[in-house]
Amino acid sequence: MSNRLKLTDILVTIVISIGFGILYKIWGPLYYAVKPFGINIDQLIYGMWFMAATVAFLIIRKPGVALLAEVAASSGEFLMGSEFGLEVLLYGIIQGLFAELLLMAFKYKRYDLLAVSMAGISSCIGSLILDFYKGYIGDLSTWNLVLYMTFRFIGTILFTGVLANSIVKALEATGVTNLVRTTSQKDFDSLDQ
């Protein structure tokens, strides 16, 4: 069982991710529309932007897929003319890298809700670090900053963990994931966890 990315893996990952890129693009105006209400409701939907990485990883289950997916999704969003401009590329790379690092810490052996939620949280931390430099979030009042971070973490677990996991479970039922996975008994066992 080779763990290197083949053309099939890359193409499938990128096609899924460009699909997510379109979704990310639609998400931008939505995010900005709820933002001025204050109290950081917008942060609840931020988790969507980490989703490509975990969905692609759950489908293909190989090293490097999470990073590639997030980079591809952000490129897709960028090329569709995102309101965030070049920012999305940088955020995409960092978020993908952070998700990838966490999955690597699990040695790419866990494909369950916990692993992808943790990967999402890792991406979330990456995005917060960038926000700290770019958005001066450290200069928000303390109560506002706490709310900001809490909402973003909650949203991350909902989108990147729960929603991604349930989507891939449904995809597995269609049988399409068998095309791209190298199946082994170990994979089946880990599903039952």
Binding site: K6, L7, T8, I10, L11, V12, T13, I14, V15, I16, S17, I18, G19, I22, G28, P29, Y32, A33, K35, P36, G38, N40, V55, I59, L68, A72, S75, G76, F78, L79, M80, G81, S82, E83, F84, G85, L86, E87, V88, L89, L90, Y133, K134, G135, Y136, G138, D139, L140, S141, W143, N144, S166, I167, A170, L171, T174, V176, T177, L179, V180
Partner: protein, 263 residues
């Protein structure tokens, strides 16, 4: 989308160089903490956006609308809830201070300049040329570049499929159920068929490419040759000149009496 436009000199700039320069400017913009400089820097990019993309003004103004929303919404959350000492206005949790007002404006301009840089790049670069340029100038692996180009070609098919699924649901008289579980079900009913079809299609394309002996080594020939020209120099000189001018004007004729917006 069919948008007619004229090719400007920005279209002729090497795509990889354009991307690299704009990425550098992006990082540069993050290091600007001086509000007046941020405003003049925004001007240098907006000159390109307004006069050099070759798009009709009607389109440019349409593109500008969401950017203004971005400006407003980014600025407002920092203005209302930012830290600061000199209070201008206080109402419950809202605490507008002089410092947070300037910081909010600064963030608004920063978001605006990022958006303009991005759209200027997208409006003046064809994706195919971008990926050919990335392969030739930055040695991006062809496996990735061609996958991107194939995926971009699939976008219209994805939209067509989305419409088909919606129509099929309508014809079969499927109505969305009420309640939270109903909402979740309808959220899931669209992406599953879309994703599974996309995966199948991507898989078939990959098989076809490999069957036709897709050569993913770097020693391959290219149909399009993307090189450098005098316009690349013009692009760089434009930014060097205008950014220096922007710095000069920001120091000599400051608009706001503030130097560093950080707390």
């Amino acid at each position: 989308m069919n948008i007619s436009f004229e090719e400007s000199w920005l279209h002729k700039v090497n795509p990889a160089l354009k991307l690299f320069t704009l990425t550098f400017l992006f990082v540069f913009a993050v290091t600007i903490h001086h509000l007046n400089y941020m405003i003049t820097f925004t001007l240098t990019v907006s000159i390109l956006f307004f006069f050099c993309t070759g798009q009709p003004y009607k389109h440019l103004l349409l593109f500008l609308l969401p950017f203004l929303l971005v400006f407003f919404s980014t600025a407002v959350s920092m203005i209302l809830f930012g830290k600061g000492e000199t209070t201008l206005f206080k109402w419950g949790l809202v605490n507008v201070t002089e410092e947070s007002l300037y910081r909010g404006l600064h963030l608004g301009f920063r978001a605006l300049v990022f958006a303009m840089m991005g759209i200027t790049f997208v409006l003046t670069t064809k994706p195919v040329q971008l990926f050919y340029s990335l392969m030739q100038q930055l040695k991006l692996h062809p496996k990735y570049a061609y996958s991107f180009m194939a995926a971009i070609r699939l976008i219209p098919i994805m939209f067509e499929e989305l419409q088909t699924i919606r129509d099929a649901r309508k014809v079969r008289g499927i109505q969305s159920q009420k309640g939270l579980s109903g909402v979740l079900k309808s959220i899931k009913s669209l992406p599953i068929p879309l994703l599974s079809q996309s995966i199948r299609r991507a898989f078939r394309i990959a098989v076809a490419m490999e069957a036709k002996r897709f050569n993913s080594s770097n020693a391959r020939t290219f149909y399009y040759h993307i090189g450098f020209s005098i316009y690349d120099l013009l692009f760089i000189v434009y930014f060097v000149l205008t950014i220096s001018l922007a710095y000069f004007f920001a120091l000599e004729f400051p608009l706001f009496p503030v130097t560093d917006v950080r707390h």
